[in-house]
C-alpha cells in the first residue's frame, strides 16, 4: 500500500516538474496538413540541437490552424494558403494586430498524365480549358481520340485553391473532376488511367509523366525541376507560410522561426519534397 502511495506521489511530482519544464521552451505548431511532415522534421532537428526546447506539431488543416491562432491555443500556424480576410478580422478582434506572415518554403505544382499519353506539353490556357471542362477530348489538344478524365483534389486542400486561382483564373473546376483525398491517391489514380490528368507537388510523381508547361503559345515549355521552380521560370509554384501572433514573436519562437528560414533549416525542405526559399527571402545568420 505504502509503495503504491509513493508511486502515485512521485508520478504527480514528476508530472508537475514536466509541466514546469514545458513552460520554459514549449512551442506549439498547428495547421496545414501539407506542411505537417516538413514542420515535424524541422521540429525534430531543432529539438536535437536545442535540448531545452520542446516543439509540438499537429495538423488538421490551415483553417484549423488559423482558428487556433485566434484562440491563442497555438503559437505558430502553418498554412498552405494566404490568410483570408475573415480570419484576419478575427485575429485583429482577438489580439488587436494582424498576424505576421513568413514564407517558409516553395512548392512547385506539376501536371501529371499517364505514361502512355503521347502529350508532352500544354499551355496554361489549355490547362484552364481542360480543368474547367471546356475541352473534353484529348484530340482537341493534340492527343488521341479519348475522353479526358479529370483528377483534382479536395476543395479543402491548399493545392486545390492555388491551382484554381492561378491556372483556372478563379473559374470553377468541371463538376466531373474527381476529388482525390491526397497527392499520393491522385498519382495512383492517374497511373492507372491512361486518359487521366491531375496535378500535385512537383517532387512527387513516380509512375506518372510530368508535363512541361508553357506560359502561352509563344513561350518555351518549362520542365518542373528545382532550378526552374526556384528561379521562377516554371509558372505554377506557390509559397508555404507560417503565421505568428506578433506579441509572441520573441525569444524561443523568434529564434525558431529564424532558424527555419536560415540556410540550415532550408536544407531540410528539399528532403521532404518541397523547394528552398530563394536566397533573398532567407534569414541571415
Amino acid at each position: 500500500m505504502k509503495a503504491k502511495i509513493n508511486y502515485v506521489l512521485s508520478t504527480i511530482i514528476l508530472g508537475l516538474i514536466l509541466t514546469y519544464a514545458g513552460e520554459a521552451g514549449n512551442i506549439i505548431v498547428k495547421g496545414s496538413d501539407t506542411l505537417v511532415i516538413l514542420a515535424q522534421k524541422w521540429a525534430e532537428v531543432y529539438m536535437a540541437k536545442n535540448k531545452n526546447v520542446t516543439i509540438q506539431v499537429t495538423g488538421g488543416g490551415s483553417g484549423t490552424g488559423f482558428a487556433a491562432l485566434q484562440n491563442k491555443s497555438t503559437d505558430l500556424c502553418n498554412a498552405s494558403r494566404k490568410i483570408k480576410t475573415t480570419e484576419l478580422q478575427n485575429c485583429i478582434k482577438a489580439f488587436g494586430k494582424r498576424p505576421l506572415e513568413f514564407p517558409v518554403a516553395l512548392d512547385g505544382l506539376s501536371v501529371y498524365v499517364n505514361t502512355e499519353n503521347p502529350i508532352k506539353e500544354l499551355t496554361l490556357q489549355q490547362l484552364e480549358a481542360i480543368f474547367t471542362g471546356k475541352v473534353k477530348n484529348w484530340k482537341e489538344v493534340g492527343g488521341p481520340d479519348a475522353q479526358i478524365t479529370l483528377y483534382s483534389r479536395e476543395n479543402s486542400s491548399g493545392t486545390y485553391e492555388f491551382f484554381k486561382e492561378h491556372v483556372l483564373k478563379g473559374k470553377d473546376f468541371a463538376s466531373s473532376a474527381q476529388a482525390m483525398p491526397g497527392t499520393a491517391a491522385l498519382i495512383q489514380a492517374v497511373a492507372r488511367d491512361k486518359n487521366g490528368i491531375g496535378y500535385g507537388g512537383a517532387a512527387y510523381g513516380q509512375g506518372v509523366k510530368h508535363l512541361l508547361i508553357k506560359k502561352d503559345d509563344s513561350s518555351p515549355a518549362i520542365e518542373p525541376v528545382e532550378e526552374n521552380i526556384v528561379n521562377g521560370t516554371y509558372p505554377i509554384w506557390r509559397y508555404l507560410y507560417v503565421y505568428v501572433n506578433p506579441d509572441l514573436y520573441k525569444g524561443e519562437i523568434a529564434e525558431y522561426l529564424k532558424w527555419i528560414r536560415s540556410d540550415e533549416g532550408q536544407k531540410i525542405v528539399k528532403d521532404i519534397g518541397y523547394y528552398p526559399l530563394p536566397k533573398n527571402l532567407r534569414s541571415s545568420n
Binding site: Q147, Y160, S175
Partner: protein
C-alpha cells in the same frame, strides 16, 4: 400479474439493499449522461447551422465603405454596426486595432468580385435546394463549388449521391444478407450455426478504412474490367464496397428476427407436411418480415452515414447524374473532407453543419421507423402465442 410475481415483488420491498440502490443510481446517472450527450450534439449541430436555416446573410457587400479617417467622426454605435462588433469586442479593442479593422474593410471591398452573383447569399435555403444560373454557366445548374470567387452551395448533388450509393449498397447486400440469415437461422444444423453466425458477423469488425482501400484498389479494377466504364471510381464501386459494411448489419438483425419466430409455427408447418424450403420461405419468412424490413432500414441508415468507404471509393465528384457508372459525392464524405479547412463561422462552415443536421435527422427518422416496425413484430408474434 400472477401470484408468483406478486410474492417476488413483495420480497424486494422487504429486503432493502443499499449497495443495490447505489448501483442503480450509478447506472441511471450513466445512462442520463449518454442521453444528455446526444442532446448536446444535436443542439451544437443545430446551433452551428442556424445561419442557413434563418437565412442570415454574412455578406454585407452593399454597405458603403468609409475611409479610415472617419473613425474620429463616427460614434461608438456607428463603429460597432459598421465593423460588425459586439459591445464586449468593441470595448476590448484599442484605437489602433479599430484602424486595422477599418483598413481591412477597405481592402476586402477592393478585392471583392464585382460580379452580380457575388452579392447573392448562396448559403440560403433557396440556393441550397434549387438550381440557379450563375455567371459563367449557360443554364441553371445544381452545383456544389464551395471554394470559389462566387460560391455555390447547392446540396442536391450531394443528397442524390448519398441516396444513389446507399441504394446500390442495399441492393447488393440484400440477397447476400437475407439468404445467409435464412440459411443460418432455419436451414442449417444448430452446431453449424454456432460457427457460421459469428463468422459473418466478423465482417462488421473490418475497419471501414480497410474496406475503403480494398474498394479503391481491387473492386475498382474489377468494376472497370467488367463494365468498361470511363471512371474507375464510381457509384457502383463505392456501393459494392459499402455493402461489405452493410451486410453484417442486415444479416445480424434479420437473423434475430427469423430466429424469434416461435417454434410452434415451424412445428405446425412440418406437421402439415411442408418441406424445409416451404417452411423457411412460406412460414418463417412472412412471420419475420417486419423484422427483416427493419433490418433493411437500419442497414440503409448505416450505408447513408458511412464516411470512410465512400470518401475513398466514390470518386467524390459532385455531379448530378443518375448513372451508376458516374462518380458521386456523398454528404458524409463532403463534411469529412471539407470541414477542417473552412473558416469558422463562415457560410461554408454553416452549410456543412446544415447538411450534417440533415444527415442526423434522416438517420434518426430511419432508426425510429425501424424500431416501430420491430415493436410491431414483437407484439404480433407475442400476441398470437
Amino acid at each position: 400479474m400472477n401470484k408468483d410475481t406478486k410474492i417476488s415483488l413483495a420480497l424486494t420491498r422487504v429486503q432493502f439493499n443499499w449497495t443495490e440502490r447505489i448501483l442503480e443510481l450509478g447506472i441511471l446517472l450513466i445512462s442520463a449522461t449518454t442521453s444528455v450527450a446526444i442532446l448536446m450534439i444535436f443542439v451544437f449541430v443545430g446551433r452551428e447551422s442556424m445561419p442557413v436555416i434563418f437565412g442570415k446573410s454574412q455578406l454585407d457587400a452593399s454597405q458603403s465603405i468609409r475611409s479610415v479617417e472617419d473613425l474620429h467622426k463616427m460614434s461608438a454605435k456607428e463603429i460597432m454596426t459598421y465593423l460588425g462588433l459586439s459591445k464586449e469586442e468593441y470595448n476590448s479593442l484599442d484605437k489602433q486595432s479599430l484602424r486595422e479593422l477599418m483598413l481591412l474593410k477597405i481592402e476586402t471591398a477592393r478585392d471583392a468580385s464585382k460580379d452580380k452573383d457575388a452579392f447573392i447569399n448562396a448559403a440560403s435555403l433557396k440556393y441550397l435546394f434549387f438550381p440557379h444560373q450563375w455567371t459563367g454557366y449557360d443554364k441553371p445548374v445544381f452545383i456544389w463549388q464551395p471554394v470559389s470567387e462566387i460560391r455555390k452551395f447547392n446540396i442536391i448533388p450531394l443528397i442524390v449521391g448519398s441516396l444513389k450509393i446507399s441504394l446500390i449498397a442495399i441492393l447488393v447486400s440484400v440477397p447476400f444478407a437475407i439468404a445467409s440469415a435464412i440459411l443460418v437461422s432455419v436451414l442449417v444444423h444448430p452446431k453449424i450455426k454456432e460457427v457460421l453466425k459469428p463468422l459473418i458477423e466478423l465482417l462488421a469488425g473490418i475497419p471501414s478504412v480497410v474496406i475503403g482501400v480494398f474498394g479503391l484498389i481491387v473492386i475498382a479494377n474489377i468494376v472497370q474490367s467488367v463494365t468498361g466504364c470511363v471512371f474507375r471510381l464510381n457509384s457502383l464501386t463505392a456501393g459494392i464496397a459499402l455493402s461489405f459494411a452493410v451486410i453484417p448489419v442486415i444479416f445480424s438483425i434479420s437473423e434475430d428476427a427469423l430466429s424469434s419466430v416461435p417454434k410452434s409455427y415451424i412445428e405446425a408447418a412440418y406437421a402439415l407436411g411442408a418441406s424445409r424450403w416451404k417452411m423457411a420461405f412460406q412460414v418463417v419468412m412472412p412471420a419475420a418480415f417486419p423484422g427483416v424490413f427493419a433490418a433493411l432500414m437500419i442497414g440503409f441508415g448505416r450505408a447513408f452515414g458511412e464516411t470512410m468507404i465512400v470518401l475513398m471509393a466514390s470518386g467524390n465528384a459532385s455531379i448530378l447524374s443518375a448513372s451508376i457508372l458516374d462518380p458521386a459525392r456523398t454528404i458524409t464524405a463532403t463534411i469529412a473532407a471539407e470541414l477542417a479547412e473552412t473558416v469558422f463561422g463562415d457560410p461554408h462552415y454553416s452549410v456543412l453543419f446544415f447538411i450534417g443536421l440533415l444527415l442526423f435527422v434522416f438517420t434518426f427518422i430511419l432508426n425510429i421507423a425501424a424500431n416501430l416496425v420491430m415493436g410491431h413484430l414483437r407484439t404480433r408474434i407475442e400476441g398470437k402465442k
